[in-house]
Amino acid sequence: MTKEKIIQLENICKRYKMGDSIIPAVCDVHLDIYKGDFIAIVGPSGSGKSTMMNMVGALDLASTGDIFLDKINIEKLAESELAQIRGKKIGFIFQTFNLIPTLNALENVMLPMIFQGTPAKARLERAKKLLVDVKLSHRMFHLPNELSGGERQRVAIARSLANDPDVILADEPTGNLDSKTGAEILDMFMELNKKGKTIIMITHDNNLAKKAKRIVYLKDGKIIKMHG
């Protein structure tokens, strides 16, 4: 059974200019991510995880090499096309939740759909359903600062699913949560994966990584080990 590749990083090198010197953050990276994967990218801080995540999520382009998202070479795309692809195919979950502080939970979940031109009624219905799925329907009209950390992350998960993307990209999703809440969030990821979503999780926590089906170990900007 050949699995479909959904994200490919081919011979990726990302270099940053710091003052006069050029520092390679990530180099010699080759990674294929398949549809339905639950993959954790692990490494200590400074290993290049964030850089990897940015490229995998089409938030940044590589200095050399190609990135393919659903067989499309994103290196060749203009920013507006990239944005569209991001909105449609990738759902982001951040360590610091990154909810819009002036919008309530419902409005935050509806936001990604606005940029895809989804009509208002459809937006509202879908957002309500997603909040029910993450068991937050009773907090729909609360602002982020009225929600607990775990509740905010659940809103973020609902938001990431708004446009029904193929890939969920989570950057240290439990980093700001206590262990119990963190475990609940992880359970949600496993549920989503069972339903067919590709989950890519960045973390520095080895224990967390073990819950995934595949693990990619990063050190000093290079992949040193792969499991699964």
Partner: protein, 405 residues
């Protein structure tokens, strides 16, 4: 989608009330100033030109004028008199000459003494008609004066209110002018010219008797023949009187004014005042606009992470640009709206204060709808203009950099 951006912008303003208010403060002060000053200015202009509604374009006004130039005694101020009436009557282009007296007298009523203007009315019927027509006088109560109405007066609407006498003066009542009793036979309809509203009119013979005036006139009105050019006839009269009085040009002790001259010089002054004042108001709007730019710039800096998130969840550069530009446009628009409301209220209250002070409706504020709409459009566009650069910068932020915070 644009509609959603408007809703997002309004939501942002609601959630950041104090900052939005402070930003709009600069704009609405400037807009309020412009709206109130233009409305008051137009009302004032209408009021002033309304004073001249009593003059028509075919009537010239000749008055006494002091010269004040030259060594004392070198110019003799000769008051207008019957001889002048003859001289003017003979000038080419002059149809009729009407002479008028306008004086201040002591008036007693209801045991209160006050001072008032009186104006005389010629007894010849054709001249009487000219005066009535030129002042567009109409009786509201009672009737107008006729020939043989000695001892009778008609009074203007403000006089009839009798505010200084603590009692209304109605038709049939008697008032004492310079110690002599006069009966009020008519009250005039309210006029746009406040001179008409404040005047007491009596026959010429009564005025001459009362004040012991002989062969003296305050104003001579010359009606121009149809077909003749008013300015030319004015020059002819000047020439004739100069010759008659043996005066050099520039040393006249009289003045011949065409109605247009009077209005245009006042209009010129009003226009200059208007321009200066509106100029200042525009500067203040400019400052307000800079406030918008400052707020938007700060907003972009503060919301960098938000912008990064928006891009991560699928917002294109153009979407981010639209969101921020609409926000700054709305700041301008709502500031303008508040400014228009404040400006209009200010104009209305100031004019009603002025009217109460003078005792008659001299300033009627004209709130022009086109003015207010164009002011609103202008403040919306200005908000957009001043928000353009920060909004553009926001749209160009790279998601990676923005998310870093």
């Amino acid at each position: 989608m644009i509609k959603d951006f408007f809703l997002l912008a309004i939501n942002n303003m609601k959630k950041r009330k104090l900052r939005s208010f402070l930003t709009m403060l600069g704009i609405f002060i400037g807009i309020a100033a412009i709206v109130s000053l233009i409305s008051l200015g137009q009302g004032l202009q209408t009021a002033i030109t309304g004073q001249f509604s009593s003059l028509s374009t075919d009537k010239l006004t000749i008055q006494n004028a002091g010269t004040g130039f030259g060594p004392p005694g070198s110019t003799v101020v000769e008051k207008l008199n019957d001889h002048d009436i003859q001289v003017i009557g003979r000038v080419r282009g002059v149809k009729t000459v009407v002479s008028r007296l306008l004086r201040v007298v002591r008036v007693e009523y209801n045991d209160v003494t006050s001072f008032n203007y009186i104006a005389d009315l010629p007894e010849e019927s054709d001249k009487m008609k000219i005066v009535y027509d030129s002042m567009t006088i109409m009786a509201k109560e009672g009737r107008l004066l006729k020939k043989d109405d000695r001892g009778k007066v008609i009074i203007g609407s403000s006089v009839a209110k009798g505010i200084e006498f603590d009692k209304e003066i109605t038709v049939g009542k008697k008032i004492i002018i310079q110690g002599r009793e006069f009966e009020v036979v008519g009250v005039l309809k309210e006029s746009s010219s406040f001179q008409v509203n404040l005047v007491i009119i009596m026959l010429n013979d009564d005025v001459a008797d009362l004040l012991n005036i002989q062969d003296e006139w305050d104003i001579i009105v010359a009606q121009v023949e149809t077909g003749e050019k008013t300015e030319e006839v004015a020059k002819n009269i000047e020439r004739a009187m100069r010759k008659d009085r043996d005066l050099k040009e520039g040393e006249e002790d009289f003045s011949v004014q065409t109605p247009l001259q009077a209005i245009s010089s006042i209009n010129q002054i009003l226009n200059i005042i208007n321009i200066i004042v509106v100029g200042i108001a525009f500067i203040s709007i400019l400052v307000g606009g800079i406030g918008v730019a400052n707020t938007m710039y700060t907003s972009v800096l503060e919301r960098k992470k938000e912008i990064g998130t928006l891009k991560a969840i699928g917002a294109k550069n153009s979407h981010v640009l639209a969101i921020f530009i609409i926000e700054s446009g709305l700041l301008g628009f709502i500031g303008g709206l508040i400014g228009v409301i404040i400006g209009a209220s200010l104009a209305l209250s100031l004019s009603s204060l002025a009217n109460n002070f003078v005792g008659t409706q001299i300033i009627t504020v004209q709130l022009s709808i086109p003015l207010m709409i164009s002011v609103l459009v202008f403040s919306f566009l200005m908000g957009i203009l001043f928000g353009t650069i920060p909004s553009y910068q926001a749209s160009k932020l790279r998601p990676v950099d923005a998310l870093r915070g």
